[in-house]
């Protein structure tokens, strides 16, 4: 019988970051404890019932490639699934799924309960055990005084730190409607040397679907065939499908909101936290875009076994009576019954610039932060961080070097690098425009980018590994085969291609060149010339086609990466004294001393650090190296 109070890794929090962290940590071989204040809310979607979207879907696929759970759960719970940007290029195509909350929670709960080496315990955490002498975190203390010890502790407490809920001028403490906040832990953390600030986010009132007149509203069906998130998944994983609906606010709605602005927590000055620019409350939209007479509302179903819906687009901190009034002014909602009031929530977050890329904190060894606590928003952003924190917490136990993907390897890398080098002023959400290597970081190749690494880290099981290798082989065999294929103008092949794709093959050319034309695709070619493609695998054909189409750009981005990586991996010792770097401006010196980047690459991405400053830093590091070597020789 093993000791129930001693673990390799403790993960505090059972949300999207916490569950990915706990799963990754135990998969990587660490004996792991997941501590949550309520086992029933493990895998709870606190905001809207949807997974994925542009930029976010990319993260989900990357989590999947690294053996995470989010994609599988989203497939098991997906009741309305679409590919966004389907008519644009593959790099910006993204999967988005409405999820049945109950099914999603169940999928996560099942995975967590069945994970070998992972235990769950229900109890709120009030304190961290930190050795003052070594600045090392070695466990946690729960609200009833139970002590749990571990080598690494991952904190994923979301919006629960000092959480405060606002509805109009009414405020109450809470980490989510219906859940108590973690105030004792918040107080404890505020006493540590981390930089803390407040953020704000909001939700709309929820509505009983039975009281909505859908006959007046535009229905939006999901895609057929249905997109699938997990590389191991299929359409068969999906439950029954339903429609979403669309309605709009109108001038009457805006009138009501304008007349009651003073009562909004946002406008009465009760909220100090900063909300996201891309997810404004309805009162913000009405004020900031006064010339718009209507805003879109997506009516998202909460699940198959409930009538409750989530009207996405009207989040608010107005008093309940005003919420009733403006909701009733909206088409289809004339007789709507609100089941839960909308609210704004303010919470503490820790400046992510105080983290290493491993997500370990710079001030306290063995302590990792992941998810909304780092200033992000979104399940996908949280899950991605959880995964990385979980892996690294487990690796630290074994004395292994930390791992975090680079900006050119994954959106996860962009996310973490942005956070630790630039920090954030608003809840950080992923967008494809944040990724300078957008054409490389696609949903369709997340497995090709990350599965091998995942295997090396111990996160990829034999089944996934086998399927991955099959796909790679299929791509390569097809590529080899068509690489030798030359189409002569006016030949039989040319005629068939012209007929099938409505194009003109003017001159003799390679099929590889023909495939760069937007009208021609591999799947279509395979249908006409099955013998030319040794392996008929849909995903492999699509992959080959995308690689051929983007080839020039991919090569250029690779070149850019090589240039960048020259010195960017050079490590800066944590004890490095920036005051000794001659020539650095005091502003840059201060920034670097404050932030203590781990590598020269990170330093170069801190705002205000110029290329010349990077040069001076490199020269100074090299000088230090030479000096150290000389001292070594003398000794």
């Amino acid at each position: 019988m093993s000791d129930q109070t001693k673990y390799d890794v403790i993960v505090v929090g059972g949300g999207h970051a916490g569950t990915e962290a706990a799963l990754a940590s135990s998969r990587a071989g660490a004996r792991t404890l997941l501590l949550t204040h309520n086992i029933e809310t493990i895998g709870q979607m606190s905001c809207n019932p949807a997974i994925g979207g542009i930029g976010k879907g990319h993260l989900v696929k990357e989590i999947d490639a690294l053996g995470g759970i989010m994609a599988k759960a989203a497939d098991a719970a997906g009741i309305h699934i679409r590919t966004l940007n389907a008519r644009k290029g593959p790099a910006v195509r993204a999967t988005r799924s409405q999820a049945d909350r109950a099914l999603y929670r169940a999928a996560i709960r099942t995975a967590v309960e069945n994970q070998q080496g992972l235990h769950i315990f229900q109890q709120s955490v009030d304190d961290l055990i930190v050795d003052e002498a070594t600045n090392r975190c070695s466990g946690v203390v729960t609200e009833s005084g139970l002590r749990f010890n571990a080598v690494s502790v991952v904190l994923t407490v979301g919006t629960f730190l000092g959480g405060k809920i606002h509805i109009g001028d009414v405020q109450q403490a809470g980490g989510r409607a219906g859940d108590a906040p973690s105030n004792a832990l918040a107080k404890r953390l505020r006493a540590l040397p981390f930089r803390v600030a407040r953020l704000k986010t909001g939700t709309p009132p929820r509505i009983d679907g039975k009281t909505i007149d859908y006959s007046q509203l535009e229905a939006q069906p999901g895609d057929t065939p249905r997109p699938v998130f997990s590389y191991l998944g299929s359409e068969a994983d999906h439950p029954e499908q339903v429609h979403c609906h669309i309605t709009h606010t109108n001038e009457k709605t805006h009138e009501i909101i304008n007349a009651n602005l003073g009562k909004s927590a946002m406008y009465s000055g009760n909220i100090e936290g900063v909300g996201p620019r891309y997810c404004p409350s309805i009162e913000d939209k009405v004020v900031r875009f006064a010339d718009k007479t209507s805003h879109q509302i997506f009516i998202e179903p909460e699940g198959l076994n409930t009538h409750e819906v989530y009207p996405n687009g009207i989040s608010t901190s107005l008093p309940f009576s005003v919420q009733l009034d403006y909701v009733h002014s909206i088409k289809g909602f004339e007789n709507a019954h609100i089941t839960r009031a909308g609210y704004a929530i303010e919470y503490d977050f820790f400046d992510p610039r105080d983290l290493h890329a491993s997500l370990e904190t710079k001030f306290i060894d063995g302590l990792y932060f992941a998810g909304q606590i780092n200033g992000t928003t979104g399940y996908e952003e949280a899950g991605a961080q959880g995964l990385v924190a979980g892996i690294n917490a487990a690796r630290a136990v074994k004395g292994l070097e930390a791992w975090s993907p680079r900006r050119n390897e994954a959106y996860i890398g962009v996310l973490i690098d942005d956070l630790i080098t630039r920090g954030t002023l608003e809840p950080y959400r992923m967008f494809t425009s944040r990724a300078e290597y957008r054409l490389l970081l696609r949903e369709d190749n997340a497995d090709l980018r990350l599965t091998e690494k995942g295997r090396e880290l111990g996160l990829v099981n034999d089944n996934r590994w086998q399927q991955f290798n099959n796909k790679v082989e299929a791509i390569e065999r097809n590529r080899e085969s068509i690489a030798k294929w030359f189409v002569h103008a006016a030949s039989d092949d040319a005629r068939k291609i012209e007929q099938a794709f409505d194009v003109h093959v003017q001159k003799d050319q390679q099929v590889l060149d023909l495939l760069r034309r937007p009208e021609i695709d591999c799947t279509g070619l395979q249908k006409i010339f099955p013998d030319r493609f040794p392996v008929n695998n849909k995903a492999a054909l699509l992959q080959l086609e995308t690689q051929i189409r983007y080839q020039g750009y991919i090569e250029r981005q690779q070149e850019e990466i090589e240039k960048q990586s020259r010195y960017s991996e050079s490590r800066i010792p944590q004890s490095f004294d920036y005051a000794n770097v001659s020539g650095l401006s005091s502003e840059v010196q201060q920034k670097l001393s404050e932030q203590r980047p781990d590598t020269v690459g990170q330093a170069s991405r801190i705002p205000g650090v110029t290329p010349a400053a990077v040069s001076l830093l490199l020269v100074s590091l090299k000088k230090q190296q030479l000096l150290d070597r000389r001292v070594g020789q003398i000794a």
Partner: protein, 442 residues
């Protein structure tokens, strides 16, 4: 390590005219650039006397090309050194070939920096490297700021706005496809691209003409006959360029010389004395003098000390071109008062000449810089040219296949280039623009 670096290029000799000019190139593309310029494959460590070709394949000079294969080179990388005649237009063309082939113009001190990082310089020299980087960046930064004042800066700002404008629409269509944004019609976007493209092209044309950016300034010496204009030219160039006699009207033709004041090229034009003459040769000389005066960036109007500049002559000078009055023959007069806006000199004795040089330098608007302010501005042209080619590709993608993400990629690359001139514009800045313009967020 050397195959992983980008290739840098720079004119290694001081700007302005010298006997020999050197262009240095370091990095993986050196050999490739060598073959573009010399049309042959160079062997390491062998000097080759060869014709130099420009980007259009024309022979522009005959010179010595040296290729060093890394790590056996000054920087530890592949290095190409081109020694040609010291004419900056020529050197610029060599630099053009390099940048067209993927090199970028080196930052100040960058060759030395690479040498140090590749273990080619020892510790004792490290401090000097830091100093060099620091000193030259300060100068480059101030040169960049200077050249960003006025019209050039205004034009760049316009281009930046137009570029961001296009990006806002393209990027929001990619990242916020589900939002109810009023997306531009393709035709409107195409129009914006066209405007952007022509703005960049116009600015580049003007820059390439050198009026604004490259050639330093042109100064025309004018005045009555026999006031010592040619003597002044000889004094300024330090050479016996112009024939000087006591006979009024000796100078018939236009004489052009280039001098170098602290690395800044100044074109000095000596002209025939302005007077009515029956001599058809002299008449032609006066006509040519007026031509030159009309093209000048500044006129040095020479008057004999003690005399007043003749009003009728002053009236003939074109509007809008600044005039400096130079009182010559100070040696012949005593007690001449130094008047405001007038420079008292003696071309014969050299008195006042250093003040005149200082005055010219100030008029040109440059302080002394290690690399020559021209280099900083060469970088701007380089960046603008690259931005232009990305904008064109982006436009083409939009027209051919309305491939949003490829247009977006080209515009991102164009913005990266403009960032070199204007300072950083990050993806977060772009998102800020999008959020301020559109109501995003369901």
């Amino acid at each position: 390590m050397s195959e992983n670096t980008d290739t840098i290029a720079a004119i290694a000799t001081a700007s302005g005219k010298g006997a020999i000019g050197i262009v240095k190139i370091s990095g993986a593309r050196s050999l490739e650039i060598a073959s573009l310029i010399t049309k042959q494959t160079l062997k390491p460590r062998q000097a080759r006397y060869t014709p130099f070709f420009n980007s259009f394949g024309a022979v522009i000079d005959q010179g010595v090309a040296l290729y060093f294969k890394g790590p056996n080179s000054y920087t530890g990388e592949d290095v190409l050194e081109l020694q040609s005649h010291g004419n900056h237009v020529l050197l610029d063309q060599l630099l053009d070939v390099a940048t067209n082939a993927g090199a970028r113009v080196a930052r100040p001190g960058e060759f030395t920096e690479r040498a140090f990082l590749n273990d080619k310089i020892d510790l004792a020299q490290a401090e000097a490297v830091s100093d060099l980087i620091e000193a030259s960046t300060t100068e480059a930064a101030s040169a960049a700021v200077r050249s960003l004042q006025g019209e050039f800066s205004a034009e760049i700002q316009v281009i930046l706005e137009q570029l961001v404008n296009c990006r806002v629409y393209i990027e929001s269509a990619l990242d916020f496809a589900e939002e109810e944004i009023e997306f531009l019609k393709d035709s409107e976007l195409t129009d914006r691209f066209t405007t952007l493209e022509s703005s960049v092209t116009q600015l580049l044309q003007r820059s390439e003409e050198g009026v604004l950016l490259r050639d330093g300034i042109s100064i025309v010496i004018a005045g009555l006959p026999n006031v010592g204009k040619s003597s002044l030219l000889n004094r300024l160039t330090g050479q016996d360029t112009a024939i000087v006699t006591d006979i009024a009207g000796t100078t018939r033709d236009v004489l052009k010389e280039e001098i170098n004041i602290d690395g800044m090229p100044i074109h000095i034009v000596d002209t025939a004395g302005l007077r009515n003459s029956d001599d058809p040769i002299e008449q032609e000389g006066v006509r040519r003098a007026h031509d030159q005066i009309n093209q000048a960036d500044r006129i040095l109007f020479v008057v004999e000390a003690g005399c007043e500049p003749e009003q009728s002559l002053l009236d003939e000078l074109p509007d809008g071109i600044p005039v400096s009055f130079v009182l010559n023959k100070a040696d012949l007069q005593s007690g001449i008062q130094q008047l405001e806006n007038m420079l008292l000199v003696s071309a014969k004795t050299g008195e006042g000449i250093s003040q005149l040089r200082e005055h010219i330098k100030q008029c040109a608007g440059f302080e002394k810089t290690a690399e020559g302010a021209l280099m900083a501005r060469r970088r701007h042209i380089d960046a603008l040219t690259k931005a232009q080619s990305h904008i064109r590709s982006g436009h083409r993608h939009l027209q051919d296949s309305s491939a949003g993400e490829l247009s977006a990629e080209e515009l991102r690359l164009a913005q990266d280039q403009l960032n070199l001139i204007t300072g950083e514009f990050t993806s977060d800045d772009l998102l800020g623009e999008i959020f301020s313009r559109f109501c995003i967020g369901k």
